[in-house]
């Protein structure tokens, strides 16, 4: 019996070229950039950009979004909260965090904790109530709060098209 092994290369990797990185980094810099402007900046034809963008929007690009200045909206308390929860309540807590309107982002993490939640509240009192609620309803066993006082840098990874020219 002859066993032939096929080496499969993920489609995304084979399609990733320098022009993709240029397009992606321009989107990271400004997600609302028009294809016309992107074409001017990258010297890639608009039709190519359009095709690449459409291809990447299924999988690689998770979302185009507008990042908010929370303080300007009156939300003065922002924090990254690490949460460790008992296995029995984990799924329930996950649902709760996903639906909660003051929870901007949730990640599954490891290294002792189960979830990392980025939360946004008007003030510290509201945050404390949220935390108390977690402890009461979900038997949360351990939490760690990192207050985010000021943005120094936000979503800048791969956001400089000039750098993309140098790496591959």
């Amino acid at each position: 019996m002859i066993y032939i092994k096929y080496k499969t290369i993920p489609r995304e990797t084979t399609m990733m070229q320098k022009k993709d990185l240029l397009i992606l980094s321009n989107l990271r810099k400004d997600a609302r950039m028009s294809l016309t402007n992107m074409s001017k900046a990258t010297h890639i034809p608009i039709s190519t950009i359009f095709d690449r963008l459409r291809m990447h929007e299924v999988g690689l690009i998770k979302k185009h979004t507008s990042l908010i200045d929370f303080e300007k909206l009156g939300f003065n308390t922002r924090a990254n909260v690490c949460i460790k929860v008992d296995k029995s309540k984990r799924e329930e807590l996950r649902e709760h965090l996903s639906k909660h309107q003051n929870v901007n982002s949730v990640f599954k993490i490891n290294n002792g904790y189960d979830f990392l939640a980025e939360v946004v509240f008007h003030n510290i009192k509201d945050l404390e109530e949220f935390m108390e609620n977690l402890e009461e309803r979900f038997n949360v066993t351990q939490t760690q709060v990192y207050y985010l006082i000021e943005d120094i840098k936000r979503e800048e990874f791969m956001a400089d098209p000039l750098l993309m020219d140098l790496i591959n």
């Binding site: 990271r28 690009i61 990042l67 599954k108 207050y147 120094i152 840098k153």
Partner: protein, 145 residues
């Protein structure tokens, strides 16, 4: 504070910042010129940046780590972090630490090199939080169906 129209349009942009004025006008029933004006107002008032969130593992950067940092020389650390290409976000924080950062690496070796650089600058760090999976991203003030 924002008007009801501004909040509505903002929620559409939060959902997909590449939506055109025509799209938003159709979906909200607000005239295009008004949408245009409101988006400009939002840009100056509330929107920090329009960014595309990527699955970096698909471009070879599969390791995402967060940690808090305490520096001997805050100014130097701040500059180092602000300019470092692997550092996605940096926030000022309180209590026992100075900064909270999100970093993205190709692999463990890159991360270890970064940690060495931190050590050389006399920067202490907290435990590492490895982000394994996204459950929710930028969900605040999202359009409700």
């Amino acid at each position: 504070m924002l008007t009801e129209k501004e909040l509505l349009i903002l929620s559409h942009l939060r959902e997909n910042s590449r939506k055109t004025i025509t799209d938003i006008a159709k979906e909200t029933g607000i005239p295009k010129s008004t949408v245009f004006d409101n988006i400009n107002k939002l840009k100056t008032k509330v929107i920090k940046k329009n960014v595309s969130l990527l699955d970096f593992s698909k471009v070879g950067y599969g390791l995402r780590v967060n940690f808090a940092i305490k520096a001997k020389n805050k100014k130097e650390a701040r500059e180092f972090l602000a300019n470092h290409k692997n550092v996605n976000s940096v926030y000022k924080t309180t209590n026992n630490f100075d900064f909270y950062i999100e970093a993205i690496f190709k692999n463990m070796k890159e991360m270890h090199d970064f940690k060495d650089e931190l050590d050389n600058l006399g920067i202490k760090r907290s435990e590492e939080h490895f982000l394994i999976d996204d459950i929710k991203r930028e969900g605040f003030m999202l359009r409700k169906e």
